[in-house]
Symmetry: C2
Subunit: 235 residues, 2 copies
DNA sequence: CGAGGCGTTGAATGGCCTCAACGATGGTGG
DNA sequence: CCACCATCGTTGAGGCCATTCAACGCCTCG
């Protein structure tokens, strides 16, 4: 089911953090330039195709990852084998924080849209955060950000009718974009995010299309009717 | 609706952290005794009755709280005014972490069972964590703990039939107790935790009682038939 | 070209919600 | 001290919405 792509195959090269294009938004924002010289462990960059797994639940957590572009899902499995997607990881997000506490990864992290990541060895982050309060503070921020997301998923994406949930998910996908355009996920994934079945997700999306709340601009690229979707989301 | 009990009314005295009965489990575990001398801001203790609010969403976050005994709910409000309970805070848990980042509280924290808390001024925790790596690490741990809870609520308490959800909630309530005894929440609160209506929560609990999965040992005190509840929780 | 995955749609079922009524409980005020 | 009222848990009836199971077309890929 999940394609096997080892990180080594996907390797793009060593990251140059000093000149990183998204440096102001990432974990290392606020670090003085000098410290990058002291990093001996490599910070590698990878590009991962759809379906690839960045890590699996239970794996030894030895690296955290900053996402440069793309989207990943964090999946948690239930006792009965069904899966629930508990969060999405997008540009400038960090995932795998739990390994800073010496824990194994808690989720499967699977690529939904082609993803570029930087891989940060735990040791590097630990060492840097020892004597860089700004990094330390940034770590707390990331944890809080994840927690905010988790709370929002509960209140927005797991509450209300299926139409409301789908509408809220769509709005979330474009909310920090300038355009109102987005790609849709597989219906099965939508279901796993919203706690509804694949069929219900499909029916709802199909109905939204018929009502022109979703208009396909390019292949698998949709423009949203934001005002009307907001109306549906609210009630 | 929420009883007004100011913290001043509920004041029990100043905490003596050095001799705290749950000191090994709390945030300050691992701190050398000497540092407690340096705390000038008071760490106060309070006992809050059912229905009292420890803080409200949007309030200036100036204190975090360690719960000694009792249970609090963290409530998030939706656009339409309905509420969703996103987490429970219990003995040895810390809540209000967001104020370490200078943010206002994100939830209402309301007492479900009579609660003793210690109130820690942000400044105290900030100062101590500067030069106490163990406290710093413990803070990260607390954040991660909250995140784990949030994920579990999504996968366990917002997934599956109402019977499954109620069973899983009951099992959670006793899981770190030695006994299989617990108090039940108001049906409305159960509904808000599980994403179901008050009536459905009531019907499910009533049915569990009829099936002797729940047996009242004392007033509002129930013994759980754990094996059979586990069977229901799984499928 | 065939196979398999995915999105869509239909029909039927059932579970949850809505609206409503009623008893028990506990607190308040006369 | 008791009558009253508000709140809470419970239960019923009816309807709706999501699920289940199934079929079908489209597309990609081998």
């Amino acid at each position: 089911m999940v394609k096997l792509v080892t990180l080594k195959e996907a390797w793009d090269g060593k990251a140059d953090c000093k000149t990183c294009a998204i440096r102001e938004s990432v974990l290392f924002a606020g670090l003085p330039e000098g410290v990058f010289e002291k990093i001996h462990d490599p910070i590698d960059q990878y590009t991962l195709p759809v379906g690839a797994a960045l890590y699996h639940a239970g794996d030894d957590g030895e690296r955290l990852y900053t996402v440069r572009t793309g989207i990943l899902k964090l999946v948690q499995y239930l006792q009965d084998g069904s899966q629930r997607i508990v969060r999405l990881i997008r540009s400038t997000d960090v995932t795998g924080l739990e390994c800073l506490l010496g824990e194994n990864y808690h989720h499967d992290a699977v690529v939904l849209q082609e993803t570029e990541v930087c891989s940060l060895p735990v040791k590097v982050v630990e060492n840097l955060s020892m004597d860089n309060p700004s990094l330390h503070r940034e770590l707390l921020n990331r944890w809080q950000r994840a927690l905010n997301e988790a709370d929002a998923w509960l209140t927005e994406l797991s509450t209300g009718s299926s139409k409301q949930r789908v509408a809220r998910l769509l709005l979330r996908l474009v909310q920090d974009n300038q355009s109102s355009e987005c790609q849709l996920f597989a219906r099965e994934d939508m279901g796993a995010m919203l706690g509804i079945t694949t069929e219900t997700a499909s029916r709802t999306i199909a109905e939204f299309k018929r009502q022109s709340l979703l208009v396909e601009s390019q292949t698998n690229n949709f423009l949203l009717d934001i005002p009307n979707l907001q109306r549906i989301a609210k009630d």
